[in-house]
Symmetry: C2
Subunit: 209 residues, 2 copies
DNA sequence: GTTCATATCGAACCGATGTTCGCAGGAAAG
DNA sequence: CTTTCCTGCGAACATCGGTTCGATATGAAC
């Protein structure tokens, strides 16, 4: 395979960036303006070259008919808002991400964050979810949402005791069961009106030293 | 929030399916034909409703300017080709996925499989990767590839001893280091020509009883 | 009955967009 | 030198595709 031309590399980077930002592929003219190319035919020419190189697939005669193949997963930044554990208060939610420094973010797989919004991260204190392979010190990635389905792992706010806890969520009629993943611990039962779902766990990060 | 109309649910399912298949969002007319709707204005009408409901974002005046938000992760089927461990043979690769029954597949997050091809799964024997949270009995998802970057977790085939092993890959000049994630075990050193990469680990599954 | 909101339909408008064609400069091969 | 291939350029074409508008139907509220 011939080596990739600089212009083709630039186009590839532009397409990746565009899809991250917008969620759908760019048009030929998007690429043209984004890469300072003087003609759409040049874009088409190099798009063909990239297709031959196997770096993307095209659906001809179709607007935005570009699909990237074999992408390495990239990462995205998620604000780290605090920590969470059974029996300990969670900082006011949502904390303002704008006030956070660089150190208060975590990197995560961009594929997981794709098409998701309002993500945040919390550091886990305690081993109540050890059997779900979530340990003390791990960072969980959550999607902010106020509803949950049965069996999902969620951050739940207990209104009366002002506690936040990381558990699996089970709706059981008028009450909810918050189930730890630790055989040494029993579930928490609470009135449904006393439980506010703060987010659903969509990922876990652990850093090795 | 008002409950979703059947037509809107159908449109949502169509959009999801379309994006899985094609890698980019459908046009208004794609949705029209795909859902047997008589007019594009009806599609537009219901698309606005779905936008109000927060289920998708639209870039107005832009073809295919549809982005799904908050999608529940769906799953995809990956063939389970066998097992892998240090010191034990791997079945001939690739086994023919067509000959496998339903029991020989695993379900995995479709987001992880996005834009990836030639995925397969192997069941792990032994605890050589215990510190990477991969235990005996776990299933690892691999992307078939014959090259790896330093630090990636790979399935490596040692040609002379006819063994396959799951390790982290480190290129060290003329030789390669295959590093287990278990403090009780030491690395394997091998001549680079004697090592053939079979795939890169992109996911791990564990089933709880 | 009237009124209003919801949902659908058909048609048209017009900008967006993929494709194609002729042409040109430059490098490599003859 | 000429020829050939690669790459870039500009313009034009035909269709694609998002949007809008007026009309219709249904049902709930009054």
């Amino acid at each position: 395979m011939a080596t990739l031309r600089p212009r083709q590399q630039e186009m590839l980077r532009f397409i990746e960036h565009f899809m991250d930002e917008r969620g759908f592929p760019p048009t030929v003219r998007d690429i043209q303006y984004g890469c300072d190319i003087s003609s759409t035919s040049v874009v088409d020419y190099n798009l063909r070259a990239l297709t031959r190189a196997g770096l993307l697939k095209r659906s001809r005669e179709v607007s935005r008919g570009i699909e990237l193949v074999g992408r390495r997963p990239r990462t995205t930044r998620v604000p780290l808002l605090g920590s969470i554990a059974a029996g300990q208060p969670l900082p006011v939610f949502p904390a303002d991400p704008a006030t956070l420094g660089d150190e208060d973010h975590v990197e995560m797989d961009a594929e997981l964050a794709k098409n998701k919004d309002r993500l945040y991260a919390l550091q886990v204190k305690g081993d109540s979810m050890i059997d779900a392979l979530i340990r003390d010190g791990d960072v969980v990635i959550l999607q902010a949402q106020d509803q949950a389905e049965t069996g999902e792992m969620v951050a739940a706010w207990l209104i009366d005791t002002e506690e936040t806890t990381l558990k699996r969520f089970y709706a059981e009629g008028p009450r909810v069961r918050l189930q730890p993943e630790n055989t040494a611990m029993g579930p928490i039962y609470a009135d449904a009106r006393n439980v506010q779902i703060k987010g659903r766990v969509i990922g876990v990060l652990r850093r090795y030293e």
